[in-house]
Subunit: 321 residues, 2 copies
């Protein structure tokens, strides 16, 4: 693996012809934004580019997608990954085909496993979209309106609307530059849809989750366990759970918030969030996961009770550090 | 009334000696931020300055206040108001004493009634703090850490953390400048406390409010009525209701959200929010209130049922415009 600067990544992309861009499974605003902004940018230079994702892009992100397009089949001469910290995160379908084949990875996760031949990583960037923006500038590509929508949405979603401590002056200035160039993009409406709007079902879900909240370590560790049974009982759809990871950390006094989602019987995907000091990336690593210091994840195969017990124990240990 | 530019306001403030700064009742992040940032700035120039508010500053904003200080009694030669769109909003206590006496008003509400002798109004500014920041720059005052905390918090709180459409590139750049000058201010923690953290009581309140949601106009108008009875029943404190105005507008499909809070038996304070097109300032004006196009308020003396009926009728009319 070679580390690439923004300028090196720009040069590499300008030299490439046809690109496949891999983004992570359970796609979010940042990987969709960085993937499609990059694809649009490459196409604007007469290259071919296609974004590949194991999962369908959820409807709430459809506004980010380029207008209907037919992409003829083509063979890539470069495989890029965007916002993919670990190769496994591209999901099983893509992993089978592309494991070990990523040429250039563009990322902002300090936990990046270095699986690509070339890695353009800025661990201080708030979002992969921030890195992509810098690369586009270095490539001297003018940001179109479609790219701007992608990039802004990625910046906004990965920062909780410029709320988290991954926001730097540069993040805000990029948002300002985009907003200045395209004052007519409905930023507030995008933010409202990303951060505020909930279906009545989701609001009722929040009420249910409030009742399910479990408090550990004198309320410093708050936990919610979303079992299949609970989802069936209230008719909750998987897609409704997007963004639920931050739920337990809303509670005053909480330092770590844990959400367990039962994917299959006795198989849980865990999201862990830290309010401030506790390093949840380290904690999730104990279970084979990882992520950011304040936002990480892992998977556990166990009963709900066992999974909870293991997680809470690990968090208690992590808190003592 | 004379309209003042930022430079004229700066000149006026530099000439003044001793200032009282009035902020609105039910103080929020922006009026506290603009009031105290201005007071600190004036004091940094060897002037005397005091912020006056009808209500006590809620505890959640105490981090914004300058370190414990004893202010000797002094007579002002200038009375300033910050973030006060209408003189009545300074509250009864201050109104009795200062009605008609404001020399300079610094504001960002287009609905400003022009009650002050001199008005420095920027209706495009996201927050009064944005106007104050420009004035401090024009006064050539260097922003101290304490002022920075005030100004950032005002910008953040009045924009829903840079979410609403009052945010301009300038708003983001001011936040970037502040963040650059004081990278150690815990911005993310401030935002978390302002926008995310809720007491368990408030989370339970949200569950209660979800149950209380009333839908009108095919869900385009969502309403919540918080009666004294409801508050007593669940032991909800008035201070817990801060920020509840946006609650009904969370619901997917809602265009207008209304919250009625019963202040006294059959006397309601109304908050109205618009998602996009409907002008709720116009609607609230019908009831003697006002505010911004997308965030306004008024008061109604009537039974809950009558108040709701009147409001929903006015909203339905407003939607047809």
């Amino acid at each position: 693996m070679r580390e690439f600067t923004v300028n090196e990544a720009a040069k590499r992309l300008l030299e490439a012809e046809n690109a496949y861009i891999l983004i992570h499974r359970s796609p979010d605003g940042d990987c969709i934004g960085s993937g499609y902004a990059l694809a649009l940018a490459l196409r604007s230079q007469g290259k071919k580019a296609k974004v590949l994702c194991s999962d369908a892009i959820p409807e709430r992100y459809h506004f980010m997608l380029p207008e209907a397009e037919t992409i003829e089949h083509f063979e890539p001469d470069i495989i890029i990954s965007a916002d993919v910290a670990d190769e496994k995160l591209i999901g099983d379908t893509l992993f089978e085909q592309y494991a070990g084949k990523t040429d250039l990875c563009i990322d902002h996760h300090i936990s990046n496993t270095g699986y690509a031949k070339e890695l353009c990583l800025d661990g201080n960037a708030a979002a992969a979209c921030q890195v992509v923006y810098e690369i586009l500038k270095a490539m001297n590509i003018s940001v179109t309106r479609e790219m701007a929508v992608c990039l802004y949405t990625g910046l906004a979603t990965d920062t909780g609307c410029f709320m988290y401590d991954n926001v730097s002056p540069r993040t805000l200035r990029i948002a300002a530059e985009i907003m200045e160039q395209y004052p007519d993009i409905p930023y507030a409406a995008i933010n409202r849809n990303m951060f505020i709007v909930k279906s009545m079902g989701r609001m009722q879900l929040d009420s249910i989750l409030t009742k399910q909240l479990e408090s550990y370590a004198d309320g410093k560790c708050m936990l919610v366990c979303i079992t299949k049974e609970l989802m069936d009982k209230y008719g909750i759809d998987e897609s409704e759970l997007d963004g639920v990871a931050g739920f337990p950390l809303q509670v005053e006094g909480a330092e770590v918030g844990i959400v367990l989602k039962e994917r299959e019987k006795n198989f849980f995907r865990i999201s862990m969030r830290s309010a401030d000091k506790v390093n949840v990336s380290d904690i999730c690593k104990c279970f084979g996961g990882g992520g950011h210091i304040k936002a990480a994840g892992c998977s556990i195969e166990a009963s709900a009770e066992d999974a909870k017990r293991m997680l809470v124990e690990a968090v208690m240990k992590g808190m003592q550090k």
